[in-house]
Symmetry: C2
Subunit: 356 residues, 2 copies
C-alpha cells in the first residue's frame, strides 16, 4: 500500500487561478486516489470550484489568504511582500511537513526565489536548478538547468548531474540513470572550461549513482541518448524554448500542407487517428512542470497558461517525486559524494577545489 501523500497547491497561481488548479487536482486524484491536498488561496473561490469535485473536496484542506503574487511582479518585489501569499503558504506547508510537494502555476521568478527562501538549498548544494521533462523519441529525459541561473561552475554542473539523476531514478525507475553534458561539437574551441572540467571529473569519479556517458549535442536530446542532460541555465532555457518553438512551427507547416489541395484534405481527414496520436505525443500538457531541484523539499512549476489537464501533469510530477523520497535519497547521494571528496581532497582535479 502506498504511503499517503499530500500535495500543497498555490490555488491562485497561473492565468486561470482556482478553476484550473482545482480541476487539475481532481484529475490527478483519479490517478492517485491516496493523495490529499492543501489548497492555499481565496477560500470562497476555492470552495466554489471544489463543489464541482466532491471527491477532491473530501480530501482537501483550505488555507485562506487574500494576497497573491501577480504574474508579472518582479521576484524581488514578490519576495518583499511575499509572506502570506498563496504561493508562500503552499511552500510553507511543505516546509512544515504537512505536504510532500508544492505545485504552483504562478510567476516563475517569484516561485524560484520563494522556494529558495522557504525550503532552503540542501546541504552541499550551492545552487538549485530547474529541471524540465523533455519528450524523446522513445519516452522522456530530464534536462537541467533550464533557467534557474545563468552560468554554472564545474562543481555546480556536477551537482546538477546528481540532482538530475535523483529525479530520473524517481520518475524512470532506473538505478543508475545515464547522464550527458550538453556541449558544442567543435573541438579545441576556446571557453566552456567549466564544461570540460565537469566532464573530466564525472569521467574519473567512481561509485556515483549514475552512468556518465560524456558530451551530448543539442540534436541528441530528443533522441533520448541519455536520461539526464546537464547544461547551465542560459543555454538550457534557450534549448527548451527553441524546441518548443520548433515543434509549434512544424505544426503550423503541417496544417498548411494538409489544407493545400482537396486530396490532401481528404487524406488528412482519413488519417485523423494518426494526427491525433501525433498531437497527443506533441501535447506540451503531457509533460508540464519544471521542478526545482536541490532544495529541502519539492516545488513544481506548472506552465502559467495551462488547463486542468496540464496542471494535473504537474501535480502527478510532484506526487511521483514525493513518492520516491527524492529529497532524502538525493541527500544521501550528496553525503556519500562529499565523503569521497574529502578522502580525495589531496588530488588537484576536483572541481570543488578548482572552482572560482
Amino acid at each position: 500500500m502506498p504511503v499517503p501523500r499530500t500535495i500543497a497547491l498555490d490555488a491562485m497561481g497561473g492565468d486561470h487561478g482556482p478553476e484550473v488548479v482545482v480541476g487539475g487536482a481532481a484529475l490527478s486524484l483519479v490517478r492517485h486516489p491516496s493523495l490529499s491536498f492543501v489548497l492555499a488561496g481565496d477560500e470562497t473561490q476555492i470552495r466554489a470550484q471544489l463543489e464541482k469535485h466532491p471527491a477532491l473536496a473530501a480530501r482537501s484542506r483550505i488555507i485562506h489568504t487574500d494576497t497573491v503574487v501577480a504574474m508579472h511582479e518582479k521576484p524581488s518585489q514578490a519576495l518583499r511582500r511575499g509572506k502570506g501569499t498563496s504561493m508562500w503558504l503552499a511552500l510553507e506547508a511543505v516546509k512544515s511537513g504537512e505536504a510532500h510537494a508544492a505545485v504552483s502555476a504562478g510567476n516563475t521568478g517569484a516561485l524560484m526565489a520563494m522556494s529558495k527562501l522557504v525550503l532552503r538549498p540542501m546541504a552541499g548544494i550551492e545552487r538549485p536548478a530547474i529541471a524540465a521533462l523533455w519528450p524523446t523519441v522513445e519516452s522522456e529525459c530530464i534536462v537541467l538547468d533550464v533557467g534557474a541561473n545563468i552560468g554554472a561552475s564545474s562543481r555546480q554542473l556536477c551537482d546538477f548531474a546528481l540532482m538530475g539523476s535523483a529525479m530520473a531514478r524517481a520518475l524512470f525507475h532506473v538505478e543508475r540513470p545515464t547522464v550527458g553534458l550538453l556541449n558544442v561539437g567543435v573541438e579545441e574551441i576556446k571557453g566552456a572550461e567549466e564544461v570540460k572540467e565537469a566532464h573530466a571529473w564525472l569521467k574519473e569519479a567512481s561509485g556515483l549513482p549514475l552512468d556518465y556517458r560524456g558530451f551530448v549535442e543539442g540534436n541528441e536530446i530528443g533522441q533520448g541518448k541519455v536520461d539526464v542532460v546537464v547544461v547551465e541555465g542560459f543555454a538550457g532555457n534557450i534549448a527548451l524554448k527553441t524546441a518548443e518553438g520548433t515543434a509549434r512551427q512544424i505544426g503550423q507547416y503541417l496544417k498548411a500542407a494538409m489544407s493545400r489541395t482537396w486530396t490532401s484534405k481528404l487524406g488528412a481527414a482519413l488519417a485523423r487517428g494518426g494526427f491525433r496520436t501525433l498531437k497527443e505525443k506533441m501535447d506540451p500538457r503531457r509533460v508540464n512542470g519544471g521542478t526545482f531541484l536541490g532544495l529541502n523539499g519539492i516545488a513544481v512549476k506548472s506552465h502559467g497558461g495551462t488547463d486542468a489537464l496540464g496542471f494535473a501533469s504537474a501535480v502527478d510530477l510532484g506526487y511521483e517525486m514525493a513518492e520516491s523520497d527524492l529529497v532524502a535519497r538525493l541527500g544521501n547521494d550528496l553525503k556519500a559524494i562529499q565523503e569521497k571528496l574529502k578522502l580525495a581532497s589531496t588530488t588537484a582535479d576536483i572541481p570543488r577545489a578548482a572552482e572560482g
Copy 2:
C-alpha cells in the same frame, strides 16, 4: 547585367568529395549562369566529375593539390600542415581577389581557423562569427554566432548585430533588418551582463543600419519575429542543433503515427502531396550553409554529409553574398559606427569601453 562572380570551391571537402562538390556547382550554375568557378583539389578526380557537366567545365579552373584536410583532424593540426591543402587554396583564391567567396564542406574547425588566418578579421572586428540561415514560418532568419566561439562580450554581441544585419541586407533585400538579442525570459536573473549591456547600447544607439527590437526568446526564432537573432556561440550552437533534432524527432513521430492503422496509411497516401510540401519545407538542404562573418572575404561552410542539392544551396549562399558586396558594405557600416563611437567616447555606457 550582373557583375561576373567567381566562387572558389574546396573540391575535396565533405564526406563525398568532388562528386558532390562538382554536382552542386553544376546545379548552382544553372541558377546563376554568369558564375565561374575555381576548384581546388585532385585534378584527376575533379576532371572525371567535370566530364559529366560540360557547361560547368567550360567555366571552371582547377588548382591541383594532393593534400587535403581530414574531416576529423584537430584545427591546430590542420593549421600546421594546412598550406597547400584544397581548403587553403580555395581561401587563397578569395584573398588574391580571383574568387568572391569560398565554399567548403570540410572540417568546420579547420575551415574556421584557416579562414581567420588567410582572410583575417575585418578592421574593428574582434571576433568573426558563424551565421546560420534558420527557416521561419514565413521565410528565413539569420542566427549568429552558432559556434565560432564560446561566450561573447557586449561589444562582440553588438558587432554580431552589425554583421548579421549586413548579411540580412544581402539575402533578404531589406535596408534596415530587424534585430533581436536572444535571452531568457526570467526577470532579474543574475548573469548575462553582456547581454544586458549590449541591449542597453543597441537600444540607445541611433543611426545604425538596423532596427533593434529588443530581446527575443528561443521559441520566437522560428516564428520569424526578427531578421537577425544575436547570441553567443555556445547557446547559439545548442539552439541550432536542438531545433534540427526536434524537427527530426517530429518527423519520426509523424511517420510512426501515419503507419499505425490502415486508414492512417490510406490517408497519408492521399495526402502525399501535402507531405511532400512539408518535407521540402523541412529539408535541411534548402538552407545549407553556415557563413563566417567578420572576415575580409566570404567563406561558407556546407554540411559535410550533404548531397549535390545541399551543396548547391551553399554555393548559392556564397554567390548572393558576393553579389551584394557584403564585405565592402559591412566595412562601411563599421567605419561609420566607429566614427560615431569616437564622437560619443566621453559617455560611459558604451560597451567598447566597458568590456573586460
